[in-house]
């Protein structure tokens, strides 16, 4: 990251709107997650690495830039972009949930991993966020699928399916989620 913009450069509601887009748009989530892990990146690199149309890549990078979740780190052509790590905590009457880069990566993975996609259809993003927390424990060895099933109100089979599906996300983000 070239420099961290000051707090006032992070418009909270704009950022929140973009985070909603990230959660609802697996391709956008995939681009964000890619730049966060491998950035800075040029648009042409995103087009070739992620196999997305150039117009979409430009639209998405502008969307992330407007919410201060991405910034241009090289002025000369080709321009390079890097992303900011997200930590957005939502508090409602129903509880508190922090949206982390690992959760965005899990959403991104739903585009290629049908087990995650089915799980989100059945249990929503709150269900996915809860399962991701258990997946961290599962990888650490401090929970098994049976305990996770009882506490998340899933069958043991469904719990094991989603924990295994999220294992690669947890492993990749273990440096940032623990």
């Amino acid at each position: 990251m070239a420099q961290s913009p000051s707090r006032s450069d992070h418009p909270p509601i704009r950022q929140f709107q973009t985070v909603v887009d990230l959660l609802e748009t697996p391709t956008l989530a995939r681009m964000y997650a890619y730049v966060l892990r491998n950035g800075p990146a040029t648009v042409s690199e995103l087009v070739s690495e992620l196999d997305i149309p150039q117009g979409t890549a430009y639209d998405y990078i502008q969307k992330l830039e407007a919410a201060a979740l991405a910034e241009q780190t090289r002025e000369q052509r080709p321009a390079e972009y890097d992303t900011e790590s997200i930590s957005l905590t939502l508090s409602t009457d129903g509880g508190t949930q922090t949206i982390t880069p690992a959760l965005i990566a899990a959403v991104a993975r739903s585009e290629t991993d049908e087990d995650i996609d089915v799980f989100v259809d059945r249990h929503g993003l709150d269900g996915l966020a809860a399962a991701l927390e258990y997946a961290v424990e599962y990888v650490e060895g401090t929970v098994n699928h049976r305990i996770a099933a009882r506490e998340l109100d899933l069958s043991p089979l469904e719990a094991e399916i989603i924990l295994q599906a999220l294992e690669p996300v947890v492993t990749e983000y273990s440096d940032t989620t623990t």
Partner: protein, 177 residues
């Protein structure tokens, strides 16, 4: 020397789905080695217990083929009247509660069934070594830690069943040690 291979639910989820390469590898390795995996009854119940799981690609399980082809069997019921079995299962319950930072009453018999079956097979003389194939790390560690303390030294091997493990499995993994 007789080695018994106990398999947990996670093995069959890893092998599930339309990409059957891991399933075929496991089946081939077991048939070549002439070995049967043993399922605790609790695991057998888990594998058949949720029709909703069929909505998931990885929920398409093919363990039934193992029964037909002879490389998968279901174990006898756990004999809780056997004091060695019940003592080690109680110890496993406390061990797993500590490992998972849960209250002891939140740990159920399903959580300790793998350890219980390992002890039962060793205590009854049906096996003199156990290989535990599982993704349940707390239960695996309980087995590795507790069996030696109850008279079964060097008689348990815990294998975490990762994707990589199944992608490279061969009959050699089932050779008697």
């Amino acid at each position: 020397m007789t080695t018994a291979y106990i398999a947990d639910t996670g093995v069959f989820i890893r092998c599930g789905g339309p990409d059957n390469e891991k399933f075929q590898r496991l089946r081939h390795a077991l048939r070549e080695a002439g070995v049967s995996l043993i399922l605790p009854q609790r695991v057998y119940e888990e594998l058949g217990g949720d029709p909703a799981a069929a909505e998931y690609p990885s929920g398409t399980l093919r363990h039934a083929e193992g029964f037909n082809e002879g490389w998968l069997t279901v174990a006898d019921k756990l004999d809780y009247a056997n004091s060695t079995v019940s003592t080690v299962m109680d110890a496993a319950r406390r061990f797993i509660a500590t490992e998972t930072d849960r209250e002891e009453d939140r740990i159920e018999k399903a959580d300790t069934a793998l350890v219980g079956l390992a002890v039962q097979l060793l205590d009854s003389g049906q096996a003199d070594h156990i290989v535990l194939l599982t993704t349940d790390k707390p239960a695996g560690r309980a087995a590795e830690t507790l069996l030696p303390k109850h008279g079964f030294s060097d008689q348990i091997t815990h294998r975490y069943v990762s994707s990589e493990f199944l992608e490279t499995i061969t009959a050699g993994d089932f050779g008697d040690c």
